[in-house]
Point group: C2
Chain length 326, copies 2
């Protein structure tokens, strides 16, 4: 474990434990199979970065009520619902090193359990009796689905632009993390100005999170990542490193890449050649630069708050987001 | 068209037109394909019984604001979301006489568009800024998913009891129609007593609606029904007429039925023999009796309100629910 991750883990250990307990206590399905199927993914070692950001942003705004732990499960339930549906949609086979839910319980049950988690999340949001929060949560959900649909429509299209890619990740990842931070502020009764700041902070973190994820698909160790690297490419999912490399590559290399993308098939040697090309054309370093730019903006926002244990933790999360290996 | 249906249609024509307009105006997706996919099912000649009950119950409680038309789309969007996911789950091929959405846009897009509709419904609910309404809508959604999951778990199980069947239909159909009536009352600011009455009315109508649907699968004309009769049995979906017939049939007939149920395969002649058996054992008439009992209770509730155009329409809907042919 990297030293940054170790330090961060020590700081947030208690919060993470509370979040685990809350997730287990608030699933409360009527049908036992729902607990099993949802629990398979929910309790499979997710990083809990989303609920954690929710808890920390509320705390940063002076919120001390215990309800935040229950509230934070909304964010993780929404996240899990989309993962369950995505894995069905993408016909994925492993996630977090375990067989995906639909390979055990079948796609039908998995789709319905995802629906249950969406509804459960919105039900907990309704318990706040705070219309603004409920609207934010509903809007996030609407956006995420549409981000996924956009991504699906564009699958295998080598003409995907950086702008279109950014629109997809903003919707499918950015909005949820943005909402985690924003609703933390709203719950704490923060001013509109502070709410907006933390929403922006979450947005930047969300973008970095997704770019880091997309980079890991080309740079990680499969055993550490918990899923096969190169999976995005095999699914025809074009991400920033590929988009930038396509743009910078010579005509021959581009034609070769386009063939791989369209065929959704490649050998290990071809995959290695592609990664080399990504390094040579600056595709990998470009992604890092874009991500670092967002991290800088995220950290600037946190620096505008009085320094505290919470701001220090949030700054570490900002750094960790890009520099993780899984 | 039966005379009852004609009379009813004349009475509710304006409301139905308003609901159609509201459905079209409030879908508002960011991604065009969502409109296409969702619209394929939403605008395929659904009966709009759910939003109509919502509008009528609000009116019965003195509500006159135009917002009810937008609000009623929640109920239809939730209903459509579950139909989209159900058709994927059940691997259905036709619905309302048209190819199902997933046969045109694929299961992945269909699942995600269903998610969008769930989120859209909850977003519109949030616009009411009425926590009670939002909770009811979220609870309905949770219940519906679990009803579907229960049904899925029990598929092809000839041991399904009438009690289990009732639990499934209460969750998957009853709660939504109950919620349509209840939220109409809440929106109108009705007393708790009136809200409870109309929720009960909706519950009874919902149960009758599902029993009628389940009966039609054995008694309808395929061309009028818009889907193949016998589809439930072919999917292993046991409904009340089958459950009752299994209970009343002699040992040989029961063994024969259990084989058909388990194999999910039968000839036209076998299907006709089964329908004959359903009549002979009283399976069909038993369902009608159960449904009529619920209709009686539903009508009693409406009779407790001062007689008006709206109560007369609601009474006609109660009668129509069982006596429809599609």
């Amino acid at each position: 474990m990297s030293s940054l991750k170790q330090q961060l883990m020590l700081r947030v250990e208690n919060d993470l434990n509370d979040i685990e307990t809350a997730l287990s206590q608030n699933l409360t399905p009527h049908v036992e199979m729902v607990r099993e199927t949802a629990g398979h993914l929910i309790f499979s070692g997710g990083k809990r970065i989303r609920p954690l950001l929710n808890v920390l942003c509320a705390r940063l705004c002076g919120y001390t009520d215990e309800f935040i732990k229950k509230f934070s499960t909304i964010i993780e339930f929404l996240h899990t619902a989309t993962l369950l549906h995505d894995d069905v949609v993408d016909e994925a086979t492993i996630r977090r090193g375990k067989p995906v839910a639909h390979s055990i319980w079948g796609a039908p049950v998995t789709v319905l359990v995802g629906d249950f988690l969406l509804a459960r999340a919105l039900h907990i949001a309704a318990e706040t009796e705070n219309p603004k929060i409920i609207k934010v949560i509903a809007e996030i959900t609407e956006s995420m689905c549409q981000g996924e649909i956009l991504q699906l429509i564009k699958k295998g299209d080598p003409g995907l632009t950086e702008k279109e890619y950014m629109d997809v990740i903003r919707r499918k990842t950015g909005f949820l993390i943005q909402g985690a931070c924003q609703t933390g502020a709203i719950l704490a009764g923060a001013s509109l100005e502070v709410e907006k700041k933390l929403a922006d902070f979450g947005f930047h973190i969300g973008i970095v999170f997704q770019i880091a994820d997309d980079l890991l698909d080309y740079t990680a160790d499969t055993n550490i990542l918990g899923k096969t690297i190169g999976a995005d490419l095999r699914e025809g999912k074009l991400t920033l490193p590929v988009i930038h490399t396509l743009e910078k590559a010579g005509a021959d290399d581009r034609a070769w890449m386009e063939k791989i993308i369209t065929d959704k098939d490649f050998t290990q040697a071809e995959f290695e050649k592609l990664i080399q090309l990504m390094h040579d054309t600056g595709g990998i370093s470009y992604c890092r630069t874009v991500a670092e730019n967002h991290i800088r903006q995220a950290k600037e926002i946190i620096h505008s708050f009085p320094s505290s244990e919470t701001t220090r933790t949030l700054l570490m999360i900002a750094d960790y987001t890009l520099n993780r290996n899984a």
